[in-house]
């Protein structure tokens, strides 16, 4: 008898595939070969028409749902929405979730061994952008025998990938679900990423990305980067409700060093914990990929023109207090899709959790996603 909830996909194990065809990258370089780690949930049907690709965000990975072991405390990062009877229903869909190139959870990335030198890539790993990820995901689809996804779904940076799929491979997906995302970052958003990057590169342990060779990791910088990011993922109200001005002890210490407010303690913990499980070079790469994405740039900054090739039906969802990927950005996307005469629905969910809302089981959000996914036709 499994101890997992009935609506969980249960025990899952990652799979991996080595791609030996070189991947040409936007930066001009290419990866002669690479490996992708992925998980799948549910069964691919005979007509291979029920596959859904889930794209992860900045700090995400392939483990989106279920548990890796019987005593795993936490399920995958999007377990709220993936499973039997959940909005992305594994009774109907065959769900694929991968760790993107440049990641640090098993797919080829900066900490992988560079076949040319026999040492880890470190700072020499090529820059990977959203377009490259989508191209590599298309190779994964080929490997899995999936000609056309029923849907490509993603939140935040994952939403950019879903959108890029719709633009670059219109014949290879029927639906695109872009959640808490934008077709390009605002100056403020890029600015936050730059602060995060500067925190990492100015850490003395960074060694221009070659920290592995020195046997260290830029933990302080990466922790600081995460602290900045974390603030921007929460709303003012959410932080207020969670911590207020609550102190850890009754007395004030009147010094700089001690951790007095609960919010300080929380942020330090988040930074610390993240710096032990995430790779600094990956963080730099992912934030750059976010900054670079702007499909309208090559179309005279006209997003509607950039969306011309899209044939997928689109669902765009935003959250009212998300100031990192504000509703205004999602509205821009929905408006451009309408101007380009594409099928699109747009939902703006009242939620006080900020950007983090896209990972949480907020009833209206989950219901809209469920209704949309249920409409997608799949052969039995």
């Amino acid at each position: 008898m499994s101890r997992f909830p009935a609506d969980s996909v249960g025990l899952v194990s990652p799979q991996r595939h080595v791609f030996t065809e070189p991947l040409q990258l936007a930066c001009g370089r290419s990866l002669p070969q690479y490996e992708l780690v992925y998980e799948t949930y549910g069964q691919l049907n005979a007509s291979r028409s029920n596959a859904v690709l889930v794209c992860h965000a900045l700090s995400g990975h392939h483990h989106a749902a279920g548990y890796h072991s019987e005593d795993d405390r936490k399920p995958g990062w999007w377990d709220a929405c993936i499973g039997p009877g959940k909005p992305i229903d594994t009774e109907r869909f065959f769900v694929v979730s991968l760790n993107n190139l440049g990641g640090c959870h098993g797919s080829t990335g900066p900490s992988s061994i560079d076949p040319e030198t026999g040492k880890s890539y470190g700072g020499r790993f090529p820059m990977i952008v959203v377009e490259d990820w989508v191209n590599s995901q298309a190779c994964l689809a080929d490997h899995l025998g999936i000609d056309c996804w029923a849907a490509v779904v993603g939140g935040s940076l994952g939403g950019m990938q879903a959108l890029q799929w719709a633009i670059a491979y219109p014949e290879r997906l029927r639906h695109c679900v872009a959640i808490a995302t934008a077709s390009k970052l605002s100056a403020q958003n890029i600015a936050f990423n730059e602060v995060a990057r500067q925190a990492i590169v100015s850490d003395p342990d960074f060694h221009e990305g070659d920290y592995a060779a020195f046997g260290v990791i830029p933990k302080r910088g990466l922790g600081l980067a995460r602290m900045v990011g974390h603030i921007t993922y929460l709303s003012d109200d959410a932080m207020g409700q969670k911590f207020g001005r609550e102190l850890r002890s009754e007395r004030l210490n009147y010094d700089i060093g001690s951790v007095e407010f609960q919010v300080e303690s929380y942020l330090r913990y988040q930074g610390q914990e993240f710096s032990e499980r995430f790779d600094a070079n990956t963080y730099l790469l992912m934030t750059k990929a976010l900054d670079y994405y702007d499909p309208a740039r090559t179309h005279g900054d006209d997003l509607a023109r950039a969306l011309e090739p899209v044939s997928a039906g689109c669902l765009v969802i935003s959250f009212s207090t998300d100031w990192r990927f504000a509703p205004a950005r999602s509205r821009e996307l929905a408006n451009a899709l309408m101007a380009a005469r594409k099928d699109v629905s747009y939902v703006e969910v009242e939620a006080d959790q900020g950007h983090d809302a896209f990972l949480l089981p907020i009833p209206r959000y989950v219901q809209a996603l469920r209704s949309y996914m249920n409409r997608i036709e799949v052969d039995a």
Binding site: V344, V347, A368
Partner: protein
């Protein structure tokens, strides 16, 4: 599928294959019908979460949007017909909405209740209080209907703004028209369905 009576009338005024924008589209009944029977493509704008979800569930393109925030996001002449049923009286600026509808679409179709109907007049005239009825169940302080008008009022606005009335159908609450209400629409008509253009 049986279509709501007013929508039954409206769908006849919409050209097959045209592009339709439905302001306050409710559960998307009209667009759904037009999509499947008239090869129409379009979007519904809606603010109510349950209605939005109902649209998504039946495969109607719906945009979460408060009509009072304006329609600047739609380009001039980007639709053939802009429809608004039973919402004119509930928006902050009915005149601006009318202008926008005719900027965005070649034609607009509107329906709204007639405050000049004899029952309203009798209620106000005899009781001296704002009319409350089965079809207008709200009291003055909690009603979403903040801009009631009569057919005459609406037609005066159209005249002032050089809006041409192409069709007008005056019906009762069950959307039947009678010879009497055609003769004295502002007194006997309960709901009007207008097709207008510039």
């Amino acid at each position: 599928m049986s279509l709501r009576a007013d929508l039954q009338i409206i769908q006849k005024w919409i050209q097959p294959g045209s592009r339709v924008l439905d302001l306050g589209c409710g559960e998307g009944e009209l667009l759904h019908y037009l999509q499947h029977n008239r090869q129409v493509r379009g979007y519904g704008l809606e603010i109510d979460p349950d209605n939005i979800n109902a649209c998504i569930a039946r495969g109607v393109n719906v945009i979460d949007k408060n009509l009072d925030h304006g329609l600047d996001n739609f380009e001039d002449r980007s639709f053939d017909t802009v429809v608004m049923t039973q919402a004119l009286q509930a928006v902050h600026y009915p005149d601006r909405i009318l202008e926008d509808m005719l900027r965005i679409g070649r034609e607009a179709i509107l329906t709204f209740p007639n405050f000049g109907h004899w029952r309203c007049r009798l209620y106000l005239g005899t009781k001296g209080r704002m009319p409350v009825s089965e079809f207008m169940p709200y009291t003055w302080y909690n009603t979403p209907n903040i801009h009631f008008c009569t057919f005459k009022d609406f037609e005066k606005l159209c005249h002032e703004r050089s809006v041409r009335i192409l069709d007008r159908l005056v019906v009762d609450q069950t959307h039947r028209s009678s010879r009497l209400s055609a003769m004295w629409p502002n007194l006997l008509g309960e709901v009007a369905i207008y097709r207008v253009t510039r």
